[in-house]
Amino acid sequence: MGWIFKMAWRDGRASIKKLLLFMASIVLGIAAVVSIQSFGDTLKKNIALQSKSLMGADYKIDSDSPVNEEVVKIMDSLGGPRAKEISFASMAAFSATDATKLMQVRGISGGFPFYGEMDTEPVSAATSFQQTNSALVDATVMLQLNLKPGDSIKVGNVTLPIAGSLKSLPGSNAIFSSVAPPVVIPYLFIEQSGLVQTGSRIDYEYYFVAAPNQDMEQLDNALDPVLDKNEADLDTHVSTSRRLGRRYENFGRFLNLVAFVALLLGCVGIASAIHIYIKEKLRSVAVLKCIGASRRQTFLIYLVQIAGMGLIGGIIGTAAGLLLQQLFPILLQDFLPVDVQVALAPQIIIAGVLLGLIMSVLFAMYPLMSTLYVSPLQALRVQAKTNFRSKRAAFFVGLAIVVFVLLFSFWLLENWKYALSFVGGVLVTFALLAGIAALFIKLIKKYFPTSWNFEARQSLLNLFRPQNQTLTLILAIGVGSFLISTLYFTKDLLLAQANLESNRNSPNIIMLDIQREQVDSVAHTVQDQGLPVLSNIPIVSMRVQEINGKNANQIKQDTSSRVNGWILSHEFRVTYRDSLIASESLERGSLTPQIANGERPVTISVSTNFAEDAHVQLGDTVTFNVQGVLLPTVIGSVRMVDWSRLQLNFSIVFPKGVLEDAPQFGVLTTKAPDENASAKLQQKLVRLFPNVSILDLRQLLTVVEDILNKITLIINFMAFFSILTGIIVLLGAVRTSKYQRIKESVLLRTLGARSKQIVKILALEYFYLGALGAISGIVLSLISSQLLAWIVFDTPFFPSIWPFLVLFPVITLLVMAIGLGSSIGVIKSPPLQVLRKQ
């Protein structure tokens, strides 16, 4: 074995430049995977470490209705809450600027937060607002509306001075804050605001500080079932941080896949480069066999070389990934719930290094196996047949690669279905790109343009010369273009869908929480502004009491029940109407439009997701608790609901004639032609009906776009690794075929070709490769985005012209620049010098 290592080193030493280039192909992919993995791990640890600061307490009991006596008793037995909070979304008016805004009002009492801090400007405002009876307003809103401490804010019937701007607060979610930014007021003003009324979505929260050694899991297990029965919930800092960690894990997994594509692309580069590398070594293998080396020995020499290269690539990639993860807190700052202290995780370091080793060996295995079949006769001048075409070996190596990629994807995604879809998607993309390359070559051969001038013909011929790199280059360029344009198209698609809603003759202002007696007056106010009332939706709150005669509590306790927990604990907002709306389609049964008053049973319609999660079918019975009154119903139809549309959708729809007398609130919608009209309406409504919340979909769209832009930035950052890897693979492929090119151009120059003609041949060759790769990638991505639009989003998709206008020429030019750049030495040197150098 010692001799094999010695030979691997001796041989590798002379080919170090080539080996380094192969190694570079995987370094970036590994760096990308390791950086995401490591950052994900760091984030998880940081969330766990800072879990108390995230919640601001050790645990909390919350409910979406005032807690009953049973819950109060439980809280007393726990020593009573250290702080209370009531929060809800409401319109706020700022007299200084006449502006109105939907905000999350948080009325807080006690010394909350007990861990972490409320970050305010001025700092003293965090503690003084309680004593000075003033409010803390979200810092971004302060900036946007040009507010200063001392200005006033009106929430419902209460007007308070602003004590300062609120930069961060435990328990605030950055994304939700963009839609309804927080305003903190002293608890005692909540009552006075008059906003706590039936129908409003209100959260009641009670914060606790635990004894130092209290076991949170135990507390959770003991109290949660009891609280659950009383429509309350216990959240400990541990469970909250776990939930939060999972949310970030999902995003991390997606980024991991983008990084993994970079690695796979690098591996294709390795397979191709090793193929050429080993071809060059076959003569040496034959000589070694002649002088007595065995098949195993010659095979191992090159296996050790490749494994060594993979190992070093893995180490460098891992180190680069660890450095790179320092960038993530900057890129993700708007999304991170905690301050991240970057740490090193040994298992990720080991995984990164092993990944480099395994991926290089796996992808190099097939070309490497040809060393086993080289006849020593090749060392003599006999043209022995050594074409290695073992279908069985190719199958097993291919299978090993697919299995490893699948296992690794599963490790990243923790879901077989997703892992299989990902591997399937990658295989199809790679196969399609390879198919396009093969078809292109076939077409050129069949319809060779014999009338073209010499340079154009010669450059086309170069595409299928022996040892050509056409397939590798088209794969590298194609996958890169595919990735960038898919990211672009998907963002386009998401925005297009949201825009569609705002452009259609559909509502763009939704007025929520309108008390029953206010509905007519609000409608008149809207009409007075010259705006139409597009819909008037009544909403009744209710909970599921029984399913098919079985009580909700019995179902909860039944371990064999497959009914999803949210069905039993959720407070449903239900409407009644006699027809379907645009976002709905009937899947089963028929919609009952109306029933006579008092007629039983009441036939309702449920959404497909309700039917699936509640495990109910047509004809099954569900009894609802409508604020104390039990209402038995029968499922008469199941509707498919497109929840992605920006409009009010419902899980449960009642027929007319049942809920008219139940306690309810209304939702009105209208369409304001511009921001000015919208602002005017909002100001008027806030003044007249302070309890009405107004959602301006146009503003929401801006928020969505902003979030999408931030996410795109991160995804683009990861996709960048694929692009860079593509460039390295490109460089590798160009360099590997450099000697072939040298021979050809020297021969051409010896025969009298001018440098200009040679440059033209090379430039055209790279133009064909760049253009074909880029166009294949973009078109494939267009097709997959179109499919996504039809199948997933169910919306017409008008692709942006940007990828064609910018991406296509940029990638083509880049390929030409790299190709010509690395061949420039060949063109400049005199033929004899080049020939001698060989």
Partner: protein, 228 residues
Amino acid sequence: MAKILNVEHLEKGYTNGTKKLTVLHDISFSIEERETFSIVGPSGSGKTTLLGLCAGLDHPDNGMISLCGTSMSSLDEDGRARLRNDKVGFVFQDFQLLPTLTALENVAVPLELQGDKKASQISKELLAKVGLGDRFHHYPSQLSGGEQQRVALARAFSNRPAILFADEPTGNLDSETGEKVIELLFELNKDHGTTLVIVTHDNELAALTQRILKLKGGKIVATENTPV
């Protein structure tokens, strides 16, 4: 004297598409230990194929080859490789030095394969003997054709082979350099007491060996003893 190489009724052909091309027909001969022997014939007569089969680089279609008392058909590829490493030396027309190894490392490879701890020392001595004592660390690309063939000679003798196969050893050299290389080959052969089998189309070189086997169209047309 004992026979070191015995060839009986050897046949070899290749298929080219659907066509079968017979390269060697019913070849039988034997070579004794320490004998010098040449195989001559025009291009395409099957000389190199015969050499390759004798050295166990390929299988015959029919017939039997026995080298150093071992029947080639009884050995698998690795067994034949071991036999070559122990008993056989090679000199090629185009030198066939490993381009990534220095002169010294090239010479040492056969010894290292045997696990010889003195590989480096023996290789240095051999290189000095062929006049390249100052070129140990040069790569093949830094040596002239004549120098490369001298390194190849040193490598061929490094494992003290019982039999040495030389395939057109002067084919890629000018006549003056070629003469010097042949002189060296025979000198080393004499010193090491090796059996020498040369494939050549150079009648003058063939005349330096004790026996000549003439091939034409894959058949033996004559076996002659020379006055050497």
